[in-house]
C-alpha cells in the first residue's frame, strides 16, 4: 500500500453530499494536484460522520483536525495553510455554542467525545466503496472465524450469550430468533436485511448502509452459516440511492474477492445476496409486510404465528433482522460475547444509534451505550437547545413512539424503561422539542403520518388512526369538544389492543403519551381555544409589540401577503384580515417584537 503524509477524509454521507461535499472533494483534489502534493496527500470520501449539522466535513489525519461547514472557496486557503505550511485554520474549526475558542481536534469535540462507536466504528474512517479499506480495519475477520473455527451451534450460542436484541425497535433477542430458524428442517432458508427505514427524522440505517456496507454483508454471511441459509436479500428503500449504490458495489467486490457466492474462503460454504428495492411504504418495515413485499405482493402484514423463522419468505424459514443488528454481529463474533455483555444495562446490551434531530444544537447521528440518560444525549452530546430556549419534550421511537417531558430527562435509555414511560426504542429517532412546540400539533403531525401510512387492513388501525387524526385536527382548529379527550383515549387504547401489526399496536402512543404528560395543552385548546405555544394557526394571531418594535421593516419585507403596514422607524402593525399566519414576520424580526397571541375573535361555545 502506498504511504501518504496526510489523509483528507471528506464526509460523503447523504447529509454532507447534499451540502456539496463531492464538490469540496473535487476542489481539494484539483488544488492538491496544482500544488503537486498528490503523492503526499490522499483525499478519501468516507461514510457519514454523524455531525450532519456541520457539513460538509473534512477530517485531516493523522492530526485529527476537524474542519466543518466548508465551502469550495475555502479549499485553496486550507491546502496552502494547513497542508503546505502546517498551520491549521482556526476559522474553519468547530466552535461549541456559548463558547468562543474553537476545538481543533475531533476527539475533543463534545459531540464525538461521549460516543461509543461499534456499529459505526468505520464511519468517517474508510472509503465505503473500497473493500480493501474495510479489510484493513479487521473486516471479514469475524466471518473467517465463523466459517473456519465455529459451528452453527457455537455461533448461535455466542450471539445468545452476548444478549444482542433486535435493533429494529421491538428488541427481540437475536440469538433466540436464529435458534428458532436453525431448528427448522425445511430448506432452503433465507436471510433478510431490513433496511426499510421510514420514520420521519430517522436515518441511522441509511448511514450504516452508506458508511459501512461490508459490515452488513459480513454479518449476514455469519448469520447464514448459523442457520444454514443459502440466499439473502438486502431490502433498501428506493429513496436511499446512495445506500443502494454502495451496497451494490460492496456485494460485487465481496463476490470478486471470494467472500460471497460459491465456496466462500474455500470452505465449501455457499451464500449469495441480492438487493431488493422497496417501493416506499412505511409499513414495509414490519417484517411480515416486508416479506410480502419481497415476494412481489402488496406490503400488508399478516398474523404471527407462524413467525417468519418458521414460515417466512415463500413459506420457508427466514431470519429477518435490522441493518444495525446485522452490522453488530461481526463485532460480537470478532471480540466475543463477554466484551459485548460488558456494555449497556442488565437487559439491554451493547450500543444503539440515535438520530438526534429537531430543536437541538448538534443535529446528527450518535452511537451511545445503552443505559445512558436522555439528559446526557440531549444536553451532553446534543449540546442543548438552540437560542437558549427551554427544553420541552423529546419524541423517541418514530411516529409510533412517545413524547417524554423534561421531568423524565434522567431516564436511562433501554428497551424496558422507554416502554414503561410510554415511548419505545423504535428505530432510534430522537426529536427534540423546545417551548415553541405545541404538543397537540405534534400529535396531529404523527397521526397524520400514521393515518396515511396505515396499510388499511385492520379497521382498528385504518379507521382508528383516521378518526384520531380528525379529532385532533378539529381540536387544533378550535372545534374541540370536552368529550374529545376521553374519546381519544378510548380510541388510542382500542387501536393498540385490536390491531394486527406493530404499526397499529403503537399508533395510539403519540396520543396516549402526549395526553399523559401534556394534558393541560389539550385542555387549553379545547376549553379556552388557546394554543399555549402559539403554533396552531387557527387559534392565534400575530401582533406587533409597540414597545419592542424599532420599525426596521424586515417583517414587512418578509410578509408574503403584504399584511404589514408602517414605514421606517415607525411601529408596524399587522392587518389581521390579510394575515395568513405563516409566521414569516416572527422569524424575520430580530427584536422579538412580534408575538403570537390568542385570537380574541374566537368564540368559546
Amino acid at each position: 500500500m502506498k504511504q501518504y503524509r496526510a489523509h483528507l477524509l471528506v464526509c460523503a454521507g447523504t447529509g454532507c453530499v447534499s451540502c456539496g461535499s463531492f464538490k469540496i472533494k473535487e476542489a481539494l483534489e484539483k488544488e492538491i494536484k496544482k500544488r503537486k502534493l498528490q503523492d503526499e496527500i490522499q483525499v478519501v470520501a468516507t461514510g457519514c460522520n454523524g455531525f450532519c449539522e456541520r457539513g460538509p466535513i473534512v477530517l485531516v489525519q493523522p492530526d485529527g483536525i476537524f474542519y466543518q461547514l466548508l465551502k469550495v472557496e475555502d479549499v485553496p486557503h486550507l491546502v496552502e495553510e494547513h497542508l503546505l505550511k502546517g498551520r491549521p485554520i482556526k476559522k474553519l474549526m468547530y466552535v461549541p455554542p456559548a463558547e468562543k475558542q474553537p476545538v481543533p481536534k475531533m476527539k475533543d469535540i463534545e459531540f464525538f467525545k461521549h460516543q461509543r462507536l461499534i456499529v459505526l466504528r468505520n464511519r468517517g474512517r474508510i472509503d465505503p466503496e473500497k473493500i480493501e479499506e474495510y479489510i484493513a480495519f479487521d473486516g471479514y475477520e469475524a466471518m473467517g472465524k465463523a466459517l473456519t473455527e465455529m459451528t452453527p451451534e457455537t455461533i448461535i450460542a455466542e450471539i445468545s450469550a452476548s444478549g444482542l436484541r433486535g435493533r429494529g425497535g421491538a428488541g427481540f433477542p437475536t440469538g433466540r430468533k436464529w435458534a428458532a430458524c436453525a431448528k427448522e428442517k425445511r430448506t432452503p432458508k433465507y436471510l433478510i436485511c431490513n433496511g426499510d427505514e421510514g420514520d420521519p427524522g430517522a436515518f441511522m440505517d441509511r448511514s450504516v448502509l452508506e458508511a459501512d456496507p461490508h459490515a452488513i454483508l459480513e454479518g449476514m454471511v455469519i448469520g447464514a452459516k448459523a442457520i444454514g441459509a443459502v440466499k439473502g436479500f438486502v431490502y433498501i428503500r428506493h429513496e436511499y440511492p446512495l445506500a443502494l449504490k454502495r451496497v451494490e458495489i460492496a456485494i460485487a467486490q465481496a463476490r470478486d474477492n471470494g467472500l460471497l457466492g460459491e465456496d466462500i474462503l474455500g470452505t465449501g460454504f455457499n451464500f449469495d445476496l441480492e438487493i431488493v428495492e422497496g417501493a416506499g411504504a412505511f409499513v414495509s418495515g414490519e417484517e411480515t409486510a416486508l416479506i410480502a413485499s419481497v415476494e412481489g405482493k402488496i406490503a400488508m402484514p399478516r398474523q404471527r404465528p407462524p413467525f417468519p423463522a418458521q414460515k417466512g419468505l415463500w413459506g420457508l424459514p427466514t431470519v429477518i433482522n435490522n441493518v444495525e443488528t446485522w452490522a453488530t454481529v461481526p463485532n460480537i463474533i470478532r471480540r466475543g460475547a463477554d466484551w459485548f455483555q460488558g456494555l449497556g444495562t442488565e437487559s439491554s446490551k451493547g450500543t444503539k444509534i440515535f438520530s438526534l434531530v429537531g430543536k437541538i444544537n448538534n443535529t446528527g447521528l450518535v452511537e451511545v451505550p445503552m443505559g445512558i440518560s436522555l439528559r446526557d444525549v440531549v444536553f451532553g452530546i446534543g449540546g442543548g437547545i438552540p437560542k437558549g430556549r427551554e427544553f420541552k419534550a423529546v419524541q423517541i421511537g418514530g411516529p409510533s413512539g412517545g413524547c417524554l417531558p423534561a421531568k423524565l430527562l434522567d431516564l436511562p435509555i433501554d428497551y424496558e424503561s422507554l416502554t414503561a414511560a410510554g415511548a419505545m426504542m423504535g428505530s432510534g429517532g430522537m426529536i427534540v422539542m423546545d417551548d415553541k412546540t405545541c404538543m397537540v400539533d405534534i400529535a396531529k403531525y404523527f397521526l397524520n403520518f400514521l393515518q396515511d401510512e396505515s396499510c388499511g387492513k385492520c379497521v382498528s388501525c385504518r379507521e382508528g388512526t383516521q378518526r384520531m387524526w380528525e379529532i385532533v385536527r378539529d381540536i387544533t382548529e378550535g372545534k374541540g369538544k370536552e368529550s374529545d379527550i376521553a374519546l381519544l383515549e378510548e380510541l388510542a387504547q382500542v387501536c393498540k389492543d385490536a390491531s394486527l401489526c406493530g404499526l397499529g399496536q403503537t399508533a395510539g402512543n403519540p396520543i396516549l403519551s402526549t395526553l399523559q404528560y401534556f394534558r393541560h395543552e389539550f385542555e387549553a385548546h379545547i376549553l379556552d381555544k388557546r394554543c399555549p405555544a402559539g403554533v396552531c394557526t387557527k387559534l392565534i394571531r400575530y401582533v406587533v409589540l409597540s414597545e419592542k418594535c424599532t420599525g426596521c421593516l424586515s417583517c414587512k419585507r418578509a410578509c408574503p401577503t403584504e399584511a404589514i403596514t408602517g414605514s421606517l422607524k415607525e411601529v408596524h402593525s399587522i392587518i389581521q384580515t390579510k394575515c395568513i399566519k405563516c409566521g414569516a414576520c416572527q422569524e424575520a424580526c430580530r427584536f422579538e417584537a412580534i408575538e403570537s397571541q390568542r385570537d380574541e375573535a374566537i368564540q368559546i361555545i
Binding site: P305, K457, V459, E463, E490, D497, A498
Partner: protein
Amino acid sequence: MITFRMNGLEVKAEEGWSVLETAKFYGLEIPTLCFNEGLTPHGGCRLCLVEIGEGLRTKLVSSCTYPAEEGLIVRTDSNRVWAARRMMIELMLAMAPGSKVLQDMASRFGVTQVRFASRNKECVLCGLCVRMCAEQMDAKAIGFQKRGLNRKISTPFDMRSEECRLCGACMYICPACQLRCQGPNAETALCNGCLTMDPSCLDHYDDLQCWMYDAGRCGTCVREKT
C-alpha cells in the same frame, strides 16, 4: 390433537384449526364479519378478537387467523374484547351506516352511539368480495388499492376488467352494500331498531310471521315504540 383452554373449558382442536374454528366446533359464538368458511381468513374486521394469555401479558388477536396452539389460554368475551369489539362496530357503522349486518351487530353488542361523522361509503373494506372473486370464482377481477383512507376495492386502473364475468358473487357476499337496514331511522348512522323492536305483524295476525326464522331478522316489522 391440540389441547387448550377456552373460557375456562378444556378444548381439543385438530391440527391446522384456528381458534375461531375450534370455538365454532364447541358452539361458542364469536362474531365475525370478514370471515367466511369458504375463503381464506383475512383478519381485517377485528370483530372476532379474543384475549389470549394469562395475567399481565395478555393480548388481543383475531381468532380467525390465530392457529390453535397447545396450552393456549383463550377468553372470547372479556372486558377488553368487548370494548374493542364495540369500537370496531362503531367505526364500521360510521363508514357504512346502511348495512343491516352492522346495524344488527350494534344492537346485539349494545352499541348505542356513533361518535364519528358518517362517511356513507357502503363499504367497510372487509375484502370478502376480493377473496370471493379470487378463490371461488377464480377470476381475480378486483383487488385492494392504495392505503390508509384512500384504500378501496376496484378493478385494475378502475376500468372494466376482462376478467370479470359479471357473476355477481362479490355482491352476493357483501355484508354492507346489499342487505339494507330497514329500521325506523336508517338514514342516521345508528338504527338500534332491534333494541326497541315492536313487531307490527303481531297487531295483524297475533303471531310472528317472520320468514327469516327468528323474530326481527327480516327487519321489516320493526317500528319505533311509542
